[in-house]
Each structure stands twice: as C-alpha cells, then as structure tokens.
Amino acid sequence: MSESISQAGLRTLAAEWLAAGKTVAGPVRIKPGLVQYRALRSGDDLLFEGVQRPSNSIKEFLFPKAEKLYGYRVQGNSIELIESDTQERVETILIAARPCDAAALPILDHVFNWDFKDEMYNRRRAATTVVTLACSTHDESCFCTSVGLGPASERGSDAMLFDLGGGRCEVRCLTDKGRALFSGKTEKSDQIGNVPPGPEKKFDSKKIRTFVTDHFEDPFWQEHSLTCMGCGTCAFTCPTCHCFDILDAGPAAGNARVRSWDSCQFATFTVHASGHNPRSAQHARQRQRILHKFAIYPEKFGDILCTGCGNCTRNCPIGLGVLSVAIEIDHG
C-alpha cells in the first residue's frame, strides 16, 4: 500500500499553501526553452512534465543571489549600523525539486555551519520544506549515478513524489516536515512508484579525487581549460556552489552591506589588493573548481561537492562542465 495524490490535487495543495501566506516554488516555464525554479503565483504555474530539469537550482531560495546583511548610515565621521530584520522567515515549500537539487542542501548545511553558524541561511533552511519529484528521464548531461546519487535519492528531501502515470503521484513522506504537509491530503493506493535507473555511470569519482590531488601542476589543466570563457554560469546554476562576496553597496543601493554570489571562475575572485593574483590564468580557476568539488570539500566534510545534475554542462555557452573534465580524467 502507498499514499498517492493527483497532480490536480498537488496544484490545489500548492494554491492552499499560497493562500496561507507561504512561499511555494517549483519548476515554472518562463518562455519557450526555459524552465526555472520560481516562486509560484498560482498552483497552475507548476510544471510537472516535459522538462529534464530547471536551468537554475533551488539554492537561491536558501542562499539568495543577493542578500542584505545589514544597513548603515553615515553621519559625519560616525557610522551607525542598522540591523536587518531578525524575524522568522516566511515558510517556504519547494515542490517538484529534482533529487540532485535536494541532495545539495545537506552539502550546503555543512558549509554554512562548520565554523560560523550562518543565521541567515539557517533561518531560511528551518522554514523550508523540500518535496522532491523522482526523475523518470535523464539526458546526456546527467551524471548523478557517478557521484553516488540516483534518480530517486532521498537525500535532502522531506517528501518524495513518484510519477504513477495517469496524472497521479505516489507520496513518500520522509520527515516530520514532509508528513505535516501531506497528512490527510493523500489517498491510499496499491500502486508503488518506480523510476527507471538513472544515467549509466560515466566516471569513477575516486579516480577523479586521486588525480586532482596528485596532478596540481599538470599540462592537462591548461589543455582542458583553453576554451573556458571565464564566466560564472557553471557556478551560479550549480546547486552546490556556494562562494559569495561581501560588498558595501553605496547610496544608490540604499547603503547596505550585501552578500552576493561569486564564482571562482572570475579573474577577480582571487585578486589581492596589491594587484597580485595567485590564480592568474583560467586553467588555475578551472582546476580550483574541480579540486574543490572532488578533493577539498570531501576532505573536510566527506561528500563530493557535486550532485551530478549536469547544469554546468547544460548552461555553459561552450559546453564545458564537471562532466567533460571528469570523463577526460577518468578515460585519459
């Protein structure tokens, strides 16, 4: 026996949550060829089918692209700080997230809590419930199975949805948060949701870790990264990339100290005040990205800093990404 709900029922639920003042976000078609995770305006916005995965990631609902830390007021020689609100965050429900997005949240939890407990992140995290839709398709950029995940990974999810066909989904609640959302809203069903196996394993992540640790100075990096354009698309659409910059936005931006996303692929990421740049060439930046994902983060926290979503490859203007590097390392 299992619990199930219709897609129409899910839309109605989403509308109820919205009416209760909650933020509900999920895949939305923005325009032809573009699906993104966005805050829903109505339950009908929600897109269940016909898309591999949204082109952004759910991290922006917990770690926004720009977030005011506090404001300030300059008066003569003195500066007065204006604390940001310490109110509880609006309850947020992320619905039909992909497993590769949900799995990124425990990864981010480590980063925002190991030496400093990041209140901004934690408050959002506590107020967020993640309802994941298991993947029934994959494309050539997907590689979750190569980093220890799969199309039905439960990691980071509070509840999972499995497509049963005929506009119905099986609901599997995994945490109290998930149960709170769906209790009394589902029907009994004798169908069990099943998803086909994900993409075939494309590389051995242990091999990548060994390679990146042992080949810091290797012509491979130079050859491989020659065509990288140095934009931040890979990092900004990645569910796990979490680097940020802190800047003081002047009067035009309302006198605030703001945290905003940053990317190790930018030339300015490591530039020192003196002008010296320890990563002055693009290959050093590409190497850093792979090193961080497969060696630095795993050394500290155990997991790989990658969920195999393939967003870097899909969004890269020239088709580079973790996958192509990892395959080259593994097969080369």
Partner: protein, 432 residues
C-alpha cells in the same frame, strides 16, 4: 493638501565647467531668480560626462536630469560637445528602449553669457517635472504585453560538405607552420587544435553556434602564437571592428571563412551574409537557411509598441532573473577590457550585486559600450542562462546607428566608428 501640491522635484544638472557653469554663475551674480530644485554637478566638459551618471542620478532619487554644455563650436576642448551630442543621440534611444521616461532627461547648450537662458531652462524643467510628479516608474514592476521569444530552428545534427575541406586546410596550415593553433568547432563545442594530426577533430555542421572570435581576446589563447580561426560570415564582422579598434593586426590572424548554411539561431532566418567577405580563405558553398526558415517575430517592434512604463516593467521582470554570471560579457568578442567597469571597486561605479538597480546599471553599461560596435552575432542572448533577450538592447542601438548615422558595424573597414567620431550636422532636435 494633495501630494502633487507638496511635491518638489529634485533635478540633477551635469554642467560643463567652461560654459554652462559660468552661465549659472552669471544668473546668480545678476540676481536672476530660479527654482532651488536643481543640484549642479560641475564636470570639465559634456564630452566627459559618463552616461552612467545620468542613470545614477535617477537611482538616488532624481526626478529629472539636465545635461548642459557649450554651444556647438564653443567647446573649450574644440569638439567635446560634438562627441557628447552623438553619444546622447544613441543613449536616448537605449533609455527609450528600456522604458525610461525621456520627458525627464534634458539636454541643452548654455554659454557663459546666457544667465537668462539658464534661469529659463531651470524654471521650465522644474515646472514640467512638477507636472509629471515624482519618478515612481523607475525600475518598477508591473504588467506588460508579452514580447515574443526569438525562434530557434535548431535541428538534429547535420554535417556540412565543407567539413573535409576544413580539416584538410587546417591540417596544412598547421603542418606548414603557417599558424600555431586552430580555433575551431569540435563535437561538443569549441576546440583548440595545435597538431596537424588532430585536425580531424574539427567539425563543420549546423551545431557550430559560438562566435569563436571571442577567443582572440583571451590571453591564454594569445600566448599560443598565431591562430587560425574558423568563422561564419556573421562572426567574421567582429574582425573588422577589432582591427579598427587596434585590438589586432589582421595579418596576425588567419581567418578560415566557412560559407554558411545557417545554424538555426534566430539571426539565421534573416541573415544576409552567407559567404565570407573578410576571411583569408572561404570554404564550402552557401545553401539556404536551416529549414524551416521561420523568422522570429519582430520583438523590437512589439517592445516599442508598449508605453514606456510597460517597457520598463518588461525589463524589470527580465533582469530579475539576471544572476550576474557575466556570460554575456565573456562570450562577446567586443568586450575586451582588461578590467570591466563593473569589476572596478575603487570606487564602485556599478552596484556589483544582482539587485534590480545593479542589474539595470550593468545591462545599460554593457549595451551602451557596444553602441555602434555590436555586430549582432547574438552570443549574449545565446549564452544567458536566464534566457534574457539581451540582444534586443543591442538591436535598439543598431537601429539607432543606422537611422541617425547610416552606420552598421563590421561591414565597412574604412567607415569611421560611430562613437569616437562626429559630424557637424548631427541631429539636435532634442536639445533645448
């Protein structure tokens, strides 16, 4: 008391040091009265006024902006005001496309002897702005008519006949040491080939989207030695602009031009350039466009048919998705500054955060730096992970350059650049 009657407009006036500032000074010393709503910012010359300043004034709460300098022929630096006039012509068109209220942006010539004109201009602008009310439409969200998306006709992979010629030609170039490196297309994207035996990795098919001339600016590529670069007839125009701007010596680049059958990008449906004109060699035969050749709906006309406030609402909603990954800048062959204005932080000129203001300021700067330089390859739109139709802004400036100066970038190597040159008869109908 109603709000309009208590509303006092804030007006920022950027004036040149030599004429208008002295004109304002004269107005003061001759005891001419004018409304105190104007804040004067003195700059050396109108030719030196950064267009970002106009935007910035609105950002910090100005209800109207006035820019004023010496009359034509009177410039202390001979031609600063002529250069300024030309830039204003284009900049107004960009702001119009973005939905700025042009009734709040004023340009004028006021000489050192025209204290009375200063008095009148400031009085008039204050009254006009008072009638318009506070500028609340700036970057405001709202409803707007949908602008259709550009149509891609991307089809399944189809190799073009000239692929073999391309491989042979590049193999020879490398074997004879005519070039050190070939920048071309590979199976999954651009590749860099340095050995003759690797020339077979090059492909030529309907998935060759990228404009490879963007690699010419990258120092990692420059370090490899003389490059051969595979160009489509649309892409090669950037070589003309880059050479004009002294970014390359044409003999240091070997351009392998490919007669193009179309790659299914929106630009392909209306493409006029199927055969290379500026390349060192032209391979293959041009055929018709990728089927079916359905041209994109005229997005620009749809956009401009909306009232300004709706246009701004449209852009506000588009830019909301911008994450400032700078893919638009990185893939642009014309964005070659070593340190981009948005990366400068002493002082911060453009808010680097992906906020509404920061995104507008960035996109305005990006588009206007490409005024009269953009060759229309559409890479900015193609690269944008948020699907923002950035090329629309470039289209607006392209049309403005054609309309006002009969100029198209990358077509005529002998033509003067639009920005950086001027003509005495440039239009003035918008200047008081």
């Amino acid at each position: 008391m109603s709000e309009t009657s208590t509303f006092e407009p804030k007006i920022v006036a950027y004036v040149c040091n030599w004429c208008t500032y002295l004109g304002a000074d004269l107005a003061g010393t001759t005891r001419l009265e004018y409304p105190p709503n104007v804040r004067i910012v003195r700059l050396p010359c109108t030719g030196r006024i950064d267009f970002n300043l106009i935007v910035k004034a609105f950002e910090i709460g100005a209800d109207a902006v006035l820019v004023s300098g010496c009359h034509p022929g009177d410039c202390h630096y001979t031609a600063g005001n002529y250069h300024a006039r030309r830039r204003w012509i284009l900049f107004r068109e960009l702001l119009d496309t973005l939905g700025f209220d042009l009734r709040r942006i004023h340009f004028t010539w006021i000489s050192a002897a025209e204290g009375r004109k200063w008095q009148q201009v400031v009085t008039n602008i204050t009254e006009e702005t008072r009638a318009l009310g506070p500028y609340t439409d700036l970057y405001a969200a709202g409803t707007f008519k949908d602008v259709p998306s550009p149509v891609n006709n991307r089809n399944g992979l189809r190799s073009f006949a000239a692929q073999n010629d391309l491989r042979e030609h590049c193999r020879k170039l490398l074997a004879e040491n005519a070039v050190k490196v070939v920048i071309g297309y590979g199976v999954s994207g651009p590749i860099v080939v340095t050995k003759p035996e690797d020339a077979d990795r090059l492909v030529w098919n309907n998935h060759c989207y990228a404009n490879l001339t963007a690699y010419l600016k990258r120092k990692e590529i420059k370090a490899l030695g003389k490059p051969a670069i595979v160009v489509k007839p649309c892409d090669e125009k950037s070589l003309v602009v880059l050479e004009k701007e002294s970014q390359l010596e044409r003999q240091d680049i070997y351009a392998v031009g490919m007669a193009c059958e179309g790659v299914g990008e929106p630009k392909c449906a209306t493409c006029q350039a199927r055969t290379p004109r500026f390349a060192d060699v032209s391979l293959g035969q041009p055929a018709g466009p990728e089927p079916p050749p359905s041209p994109s709906p005229n997005r620009f006309a749809t956009l401009m048919a909306m009232p300004p406030a709706q246009r701004m609402a449209f852009w506000t909603s588009e830019f909301e998705r911008c994450v400032k990954c700078y893919a638009c800048r990185q893939v642009c062959p014309m964005c070659y500054c070593e340190r981009c204005i948005v990366d400068r932080n002493r002082p911060i000129e453009i808010d680097p955060a992906p906020s509404t203001k920061g995104n507008f300021a960035w996109q305005i700067a990006r588009a206007f730096h490409l005024a009269g330089r953009c060759i229309g390859c559409g890479e900015c739109s193609r690269a944008c992970p948020a699907g923002i139709d950035l090329a629309l802004l470039n289209v607006s400036l392209h049309i403005a350059a054609q309309k006002n100066f009969v100029f198209e970038a990358g077509i005529d190597p002998k033509a003067d650049e639009v920005i950086g040159s001027y003509a005495l008869q440039d239009k003035e109908d918008f200047i008081r």
